[in-house]
Amino acid sequence: MNSSPNRLVAAHIWVAFIAFAVAAVMGAWQMLVRSPIDAPLETAETYFVSVTGHGALMAYVLPTLFVMGFGYYVAMTALKQPLPGLRWAWAGFYIAAIGIVMAVVTVLSGQATVLYTFYPPLTGSVFFYLGVLLVVVGSWIWVAVMITAMMKWKRANPGAAVPLAMFATVANAILWLWTTAGVGAELLFQVLPASLGWTDSIDAGLARTLFSWTLHAIVYFWLMPAYIAFYTILPKVAGGRLYSDTMGRVSFILFLLYSLPVGMHHLFMDPEHGSGFKFLQMMLTALVTVPTLLTIFTIGASLEIAARLRGGKGLFGWVRALPWDRPMVLAAGFSFIMLGFGGFGGLINMSYAMNSMIHNTSWVTAHFHLIFGGSVVIMYFAIAYHIWPKLTGREARSLTPIRVQLWLWFVGIVITSFPWHILGLFGQPRRVSSFDFANPEIAYWGPWTTVSAIGGFIMLAGAALFVWNLATLYRGAAADRTMSYAMAVHQPREVPRVLNGFGLWNTLVAVLMIVAYAWPIAQFFFLDTYPAPVQRVDVGG
């Protein structure tokens, strides 16, 4: 493999993690501001600059660039063919990079303190939205390259099963295309015209509906690399095989189907939708338990195979026989623990009634730091550690700093997010810059926020050590550059056509989206609605 495609992968992953490191500093500072401890530069204005920057970098830049980079890598290594459209891929990278710079500069200059969810009718400088849109445009090029790569491979290998890692990556690419349609429409037709001063009002109900289209599916887009690693890398690193390739395909297809027509569960407390659609989407939400359980079972079985091959015994005793010293296995163990707790919290969030208890409290921020910042990002680390020797041609000089880093992140997340959940149950609101801990009503929150802030700094240390590891550790022995993926116990040469492509599944997604969203969106055009006046945050007043 020549080096330019490798540089493409590394460039994406570096940008993703530099954004992550910058945002981690912001996150730790935010923790201080919300705690009784004094922080430098502590004002409400700087807080919302920081939260907008932190949210946009962590939720948009880190995962998008990471997924793109990892996707390009999978397309080359799983399909064992050169990447089609390498120039296009670089163009996508530069478009996204320009967008990132544009958005970050705008936020840091205080012109777009609208939070990463945009929150219309709040309206900031147009350059923030254009920046985010450019990142999305760059990622659409990635989608096109992924689909082209799979089609090309299928033509060259008629009838053969697309390798699972690539099948899952294309599932994610298609999911992403669907996902971005909602927020894309909101930006193009509502937010940008308002931001440019072409309209003086914005229908917040419609905007929230379109954003909800994106908001849940984007979470699965973030999550997919972790699942791809569970199915196609972890079993091999653990020394075994994937228990079932078909279960993998079915799970990825179900994630595609049931992460889209469900976003209204973010609008349970909103008045612009009726209970019927809320119930329908809640019920569809519950279906993600199916691929989740399939995954737990399949990966559990795969790990058990590995452990027993290594001499593991007993009903659960085999767990000890797993090679926990290997970073991928260690990270996956941590990831599963955090998924377990986070999944429990998620059940509460998605229940129509219990949701009202934790709506807009710190519980929510704690939940997604545990699931996304914890379970998912720790797998991003593991993937990066796994492919870095193959990209750089050098092994890590030592695995100890890697293990320390994974431990730091895990411990940091737990110490940060557990008290944060409890604060949410106490009623502490999210997205609030400071609390008057002198007030006896809430004084008892003080110690909890302090512990949480300490956890935040442990995470920050973990983030810093991660970047340091990537930059300096891979100077050891020459490494084998071939990337190989886990074989299944029954490695298929052919699979049913429906499990080898996305024709049927795209049709089903379209049908489900029409059922779930056609009327909730259309009503804004049929009924009399009262758009909210635009509130600018980027001009004095």
Binding site: S201, L280, P496, Q523, P533
Partner: protein, 265 residues
Amino acid sequence: MSNGESPRPSDQDAVNRRWRLWASTGAGAIVVVAIVIGFFVISSRGEGGVTGALGLDHVHETPEAVAQTAAGALPTDVAWTAATLGLLEDADPEAGRAIAVQTCASCHGEAGIAVAAAFPNLAGQPATAIFKQLSDYASGHRVSPMMAAMAQGLTAAQMADLAVHFAAETPAESIVDANPPAAIVQLVVNGDPARGLPPCSACHSARGGPVGTPPLGGQPAAYLEQQLTAFAAGERGNDIYGLMRAVAGMLTPAEIAQLAAYYGN
């Protein structure tokens, strides 16, 4: 391992058909069950029936209806739509000053500093607050025979002109109480969660509050006391969502007097 033999093309077609059929039936069945429960079983018990389960329709048709459901009676004709805010944006303070000199100055002063403690100051109030009160006097939502006579002769554009004129003037100096009762400061800054009373300062401060919230500092104390008492008794009911009525209704007469003294001159 038994993966050697792959199905022949005709088998493939049969396998595919089965997958298609079952996948579509499964997805369809779930949707049907969800629709039956969501739109018929649940909504038949809730407000609005089947159309209520659909969306926007049942919740509120108009902003007036929103206000009505919350407060029981229509409190005001003013809605903060882009059109209303645009009217204020395009208003002319000089035209407003001209009317003020003619008709308002005798009580409120030309620059909005009242000539006697019987009249409220207008200087430095947000234009939205002044505009809303004038509209409410004109429409009878806020009752004052004296002000109704003044406001009924004004067009909406003139009200807007007056509003921006007084809004731009320097507010009256607020005489700060050197030693306010601790319980009153507590009400202002923290409210009283036990009674569900929000702090006054959450709305009545330079940065807080819904559109059209008036500042309180520097008003004659007697005027503030009279307004709070009127809210508490429901005699003044032009506040959207009834929020001042709710707040004032929870205050004791002694607290009302002390709050008026705290904020007022």
